[in-house]
Amino acid sequence: MQSPTSVTNAPLWRLAWRRIRRRPFQYVLFILGIAIGVAMMVSIDLANGSAQRAFELSTDAIAGRTTHRIEAISPVGVDESLYRTLRQEIGYARSAPIVEGYVVAEDLDRQPMRLVGVDFFAEAPFRSYLGGSGDASDSGSNSGGTFGQGVGALTAFLTEPDTVILAQNTAAQYGIQVGDRLRLTLAGQPLLAHVVGILQPANALTRDALGNVLFTDIASAQEIFGMQGRLSHIDLIADSDEELAPIRAILPDSVKLETAQAQKNAVQQMTAAFELNLTALSLLALVVGMFLIYNTVTFSVIQRRSLFGTLRCIGVTQGQLFQLILGESLALSIVGSVLGLGLGVVLGRSIVGLITQSINDFYFVVSVRDISLSRFTLIKGMVIGITAALVASLIPAIEAMGTSPQSSLQRSTLESKVQQVLPWLVGAWALFTLGGIGLLSIKNGGLVIAFGGLFAILLAAALLTPPMTALLMQWLSPLLNSLVGMLGKMAPRDITRSLSRTSIAIASLMVAVSVIVGVSVMVGSFRTTVVQWLDQTLQADIYVTPPSTTANRVLGSVDPTVVEAAYSWPEIDHIVTYNDADVEVIAFNREASGVPAPDAPEITVNRTAKVISADGDVSSGKRPYAWIRDDIRDPWPQLDAGEGVIISEALMLRAGVSEPPQTVTLESPQGPMTFPIVAVFYDYSSDRGTILLDSDIYIAAWQDPSIASLGLFVKPGIDVDSVVARLRDTFKGRQDLVAQSNRNLRQGSLEIFDRTFAITGALRLLAVVVAFIGVLSALMSLQLERTRELGILRANGMTPQQMWQLTLLETGIMGSLAGLFAMPLGYALAWILIYVINVRSFGWTLQMQIQPSYFWQAGLVAVVAALLAGVYPAWRLGRMPVATAIRGE
């Protein structure tokens, strides 16, 4: 027997289900709002995660059970005698030498492959798939797998030069078999490798992870990379730190001992800001989606107020109504989120290439064949999608709870409540704006806080939309009345009368359009700044580099004979040579002998940056500086004289230092070296930070005389293109050199720039799609709700054309308002993106460039989107018999 106080929700769920069946379109929009928001977030997450995971898996697979690694501070590598000392003198058996680098596999779609040289006999404890038994029958066991082509393969691997083994998946994908020849290039130089084995790791993850790895014998690798007598690093396995004590004791200053995990983390940190930026952009779509859901749910509550009133009269509790609304949202958001996950996977597959390209361009080489479906990402997408929908439904659910049982509160009552709330909304706008400004003003507040500030400003603007709309409509009504008559008077009043939902539609469109404006201004400013910077910085007429494995990073060096030959050409006025290497920045403002004592406290940095050694200024003194030490006018002579270094603004800002430091301490093969800082320059080529150092000091300290690029200055009056042609002609047949004119190099740089921002463009477009659906949903709801009223107007003589005019006038006004409000908000967003987010993410100060086209185009998008959204309701009502409309059917 049922207790008198027990309640059952079953009839309510039945009511909800019937309503959804009767008004599917309304709920389809709800589902779409969530689906697109979730899809954007999931796709970015999956693409980011897949790139990270591919890198991580590949690193893990190559590292195997390595716990520590001995690595050289200089790019020239570790002297291999150190390995002999480890094995023979200390007797540390769990050590393995590695020589590695990147090559381009011409036969494998020209993808960059990691060529890893190993000592097969040292491998067993480290990489089980390499150190296996060599028996083909073992391949399916739970052991580490094998490159099971038998003893013959092993012999060939050890004794023949340029032999490689590759993973089974890659071999199968490209139809490579043992005995095949594989065409590779290293910095443009062709290599022909002989495939002697196919790796068959038992573990599926390892199989995937080794997809872009080629293994070769260490001697071959040394030959290929020109590292005779040197190693990239020595892998170690140690169970405790004490085991490493004897190793530490013999390590020279030129090498360092680090954990394998620390190295992996350092690489992953490089892309953290890049990924966070993409994630934040994808979250914007979800925020717009939340507006849409709020709108749909509010509408569904308002439509059912009389039903709720009746239900309350017959004993339905407030809690049950609350559960009904949230239950509906829950069910729909589950459908939307599941759909979003599917869409996200599809979208992720299409953007993973773009993201991987950017990571390859700027950070590290990674090859992603397909997205890896991370369970965490999918669950996160699902949870965020459902939570967003429930949060957006909360206010309407509370509203439903408040339905009076005696009377069915009418929409007009809700609207009058909205009118009363308007002053409070202005207060909330002020509060959120101040809060946002507060968050953005926190010095060194980090990126998450900055995005928090940005979202607070967006929310503040959304809160101001209803009062601003009400105010503007008061002014617009008489103006439009005098211009177009009765319809002009009615449209603004209709917007004000339904402010609870028109303002939401306007706000969501405004947010989306402001994102277009903000991101366009940011990207435009960025591009203009980079163009100016390239113009100022790249003053040499011709640049000579080895062909790069990836777009903007040179991996390899220019043959010294080329440099010598270039010096002898009569057309050349002078030459600047460059080299770069990764360097660990230890501290700023450290006291050191031979350097004036800083009057500021020492700042620990511990970040990897790029050191560029140069024997001259490629910008011919035109390089823009953010700061130059007071006592000098041109920092370059100081640098040339070895009296100081120039650091990039990004190095300083990303270390959280806002005032130019006085010294910088770098890790070098000679131990820590401290240099006075003579200037801070703008550098948009790296977000890790750059130190410009005189080449003499670099060569002496890092023992690395290689040259990564040459900048050739042609004598006045000589045609640059003819010199480039002659250069190409002279070095015809040599594939290790690329000679580009200044113009080509700039063009290439801008192509990389545009490619990097392609993903931003895609996200921007999706935000507009979500907003369009939001506006469509809102306008559909409004117009359908007004069916009866429009029927009465039609009965009183309004022609179908006039009804179209009224509908489009209303939607046009809403679109115009959204466009209008989006202008200042877009400007504010652009300002935040340029002066806060970019600075904190990448350490780049950009010059804000406002182009009117960004604004009017975005405004046009708003109006067109709103007008388009009005077409269906107008068409539908135009076809509906007037009597049916009056009956409100």
Partner: protein, 260 residues
């Protein structure tokens, strides 16, 4: 700039009427020829009006009596053109309303017909005065040109002092009086009233009815009113009973009652 404004204004201007050209000979002011209406509800059909033929002379006051769902409102809707028949023709002053396209039908209605609904159906975003001037403004008249006439009409319905109020500030009776003013302001020849007192208490209903009759009968307008209330029929020139999809002339019943 000026030309752009005038361009916009032109776009919002309604165009001229076009029904004059399709006039045909008819008997009486209103003629219904074999009029039928079938509603489709899912897979089933419901015949509401079946092969009606009727002639109404100009200036007559016709009452349609019948139970709820008998088809009174549907008949009014077919006459006004806001609903399309399943068969047959409606001629008003020789104009085949049922053959006009949507636009021409709307323009004809706007010019020739005034409609009064049971639920007042005022536009909530417009003031009382604006509600009354609505049909004429929709027809392209400037508000200042029609304001005096609308105010005069509001005076006549006793709401001269409420011209600037919004409908939600008025009582039901007051709202219906505004609806009457709106239906008459453009001086239509035909008034269609669908249960105009059905949503009012008896006393208010009587007042509103009297007002409606005063305004229409004195001006020799044709008035067709659907009602449940047989008492109203006593004032009518003709009484038609709508039932089972047909109409029967019940005028005699009420004339006799008056005579008796």
């Amino acid at each position: 700039m000026g030309s752009m404004i005038s361009q916009v204004q032109r776009w919002f201007q309604p165009s001229a009427t076009s029904w004059e050209t399709v006039k045909q000979p008819s008997q009486g002011f209103i003629e219904l020829r074999h009029l039928s209406k079938i509603f489709t509800e899912g897979t089933s059909e419901r015949q509401v009006l079946n092969d009606l033929t009727l002639i109404v002379e100009e200036g007559q006051f016709v009452v349609l009596l019948g139970q709820s769902g008998s088809g009174k409102s549907t008949l009014l809707n077919l006459i006004s053109g806001i609903e399309r028949p399943s068969g047959g023709t409606v001629l008003i002053d020789g104009v085949p309303v049922t053959d006009l396209n949507e636009r021409a039908c709307t323009l004809f209605r706007r010019d020739q017909i005034g409609i009064i609904f049971q639920f007042f159906n005022l536009i909530p975003t417009l003031t009382v005065l604006e509600n009354v001037t609505l049909p004429q403004e929709l027809a392209g008249s400037a508000p200042q040109d029609v304001e005096a006439q609308a105010r005069a009409l509001l005076e006549r319905v006793g709401l001269g002092d409420r011209a600037e109020a919004y409908p939600d500030k008025l009582s039901g009776g007051q709202q219906q009086r505004v609806a009457i003013a709106r239906a008459l302001v453009h001086e239509p020849r035909l008034i269609l009233a669908d249960e105009p007192t059905g949503n009012l208490d008896e006393e208010t209903g009587d007042t509103v009815l009297q007002l409606l009759l005063d305004l229409t009968r004195n001006a020799q307008k044709t008035l067709i009113m659907a009602t449940h209330n047989p008492a109203i029929a006593k004032a009518a020139d003709r009484v038609l009973r709508v039932h089972d999809g047909r109409i029967d002339d019940a005028t005699a019943e009420f004339t006799e009652a008056i005579v008796a």
